[in-house]
Amino acid sequence: MNALATRLFDSLNCAILPDSPAVCRSAVMHDPGSHSALRFFAYPDRGSEKIMLRFRASACPDLLAACELTCRMSTGSPESWPAADDLIRELDIPIEKTGRILLIEDALNDLRRQLKSGPIGQ
């Protein structure tokens, strides 16, 4: 793991969910082969139109770091959510693990679909 990935793995601040969360959307993905499971949550950011992204995951260190980075790169709208390629490049994800990073992209796409069907809170 590169230094950034190690720092993110040691932090996992974005796995801390807000207290008494308001209405949110979430998307779950599993990969039984690598014993990976992750869940992304989209919360309305209080007092703004922005969406706050958080996660929970049981996965290898690279995937956990990628989940953390995804949330940190998000600036409040689905358009800012990173693509798998960005995560792979930033974290130097080993080639044999790039497949599982796609779980994040799948979860984010699911969230995008949910958000399109109606804004959070409606």
């Binding site: 793991m1 793995f9 040691d10 932090s11 996992l12 601040n13 796995a15 801390i16 969910l17 969360p21 209405v23 949110c24 959307r25 979430s26 779950v28 082969g33 690598s34 014993h35 990976s36 499971a37 992750l38 869940r39 929970r56 995951a57 049981s58 996965a59 290898c60 260190p61 956990l64 080993p94 044999e96």
Partner: protein, 395 residues
Amino acid sequence: MLSRASRTVYLDNAATTPPAPEVVEAMCAWLGSDTLYANASSVNHQPGRTAAAAVARARADIAASLGARPDELVFTSGATEANNLALFGAARYRRDEGRHIVSVRTEHKAVLDPLKKLQSEGYEVSWLDTDASGRLSDGALARTIREDTILASIMLVNNETGVIQDIPAAAEICQKNDVSLHVDAAQAYGKLALDARRLGVDSLSVSAHKIYGPKGVGALFVRSEFAPRLEPILYGGGQERGLRAGTLAGHQIAGFQAAALALANDSGELARIRTLRARLLAGLFSLDGVCLNGHEDYCVPHIVNVSVTGVHGESLLHAMEPVALSSGSACNSASREPSYVLRALGRSDALAESSLRFGIGRFTTDEDIDEAVQQFRAAVTHLRASGDLLEDENS
């Protein structure tokens, strides 16, 4: 936020032990000597005779540590080679009497792989199961031996779980049925009082680096009555009574000797290790969802193997990184294979993968144990907190 230990704590003594100071001293003395460099087989000149005498003294000391006679010891490059010699040597010598071999699913790869090779050469291997604690099931060996069984291989102490098998009972069954018995004792050496002759085995393998000796040297005990029934696997200069060709590595053997002699002087060591084990177990089990892999009573105190629920194995090992230990998974570049030993004990893939093996050793301190426990608690808490709520419905 995961806080990592500020120093590395070495708790992988089941994988290998650091060389003891007296071992380093003995090896350096040999390498720096004016005469000991001579070939111990060149007894036609004085330096050769000096080297041969030093090797003979080392052989006697190492044999004594195993309850063997000096002429029953064959020096090898380690336990892996010793296992290969014992298994191929016995199976090939007895090929005309039968081709059936019995072993256990939880053996080390250094036994499993030679036996798989023998399978490819036309031998049949029956793999015995263990119970959930890793002990051989009662009567399993006797039930499996057939008319054409020529060889059994059973490890004394399991390298992953520390579980001790009942070798005297197995030896009695093998003797009754004229089955050669080989025992991999790499993890037992220095942890149990070994008396190879009293155990009743035909051959027994050990390695120096498991007892604070150097890597690259080990030995096969071959009971004197059994030696004629062993075919060599290396041919050359006829060293080691024709059973293992190759010039003896005197400096390695000197280090091995120093390590073996130190075993005789560590009478209080076992009690100290037991105390450290109790301290470690108390710390590990202070968290919920931690289970012991192995037997609570039939085990060496040096090895503690636990599985942890609710965490990903690879992440657990990574979060524990300041503590040098082993996981229950064999890593390769693409995936992690759950331990076949723990799977054989009935553990799920997830539990086998989230296992950790702590190996306590001579240089382990109370502070090392406390540091490891603290890191373990921090790692498990960190990972469980980030993996919670995965199965909840959308809120």
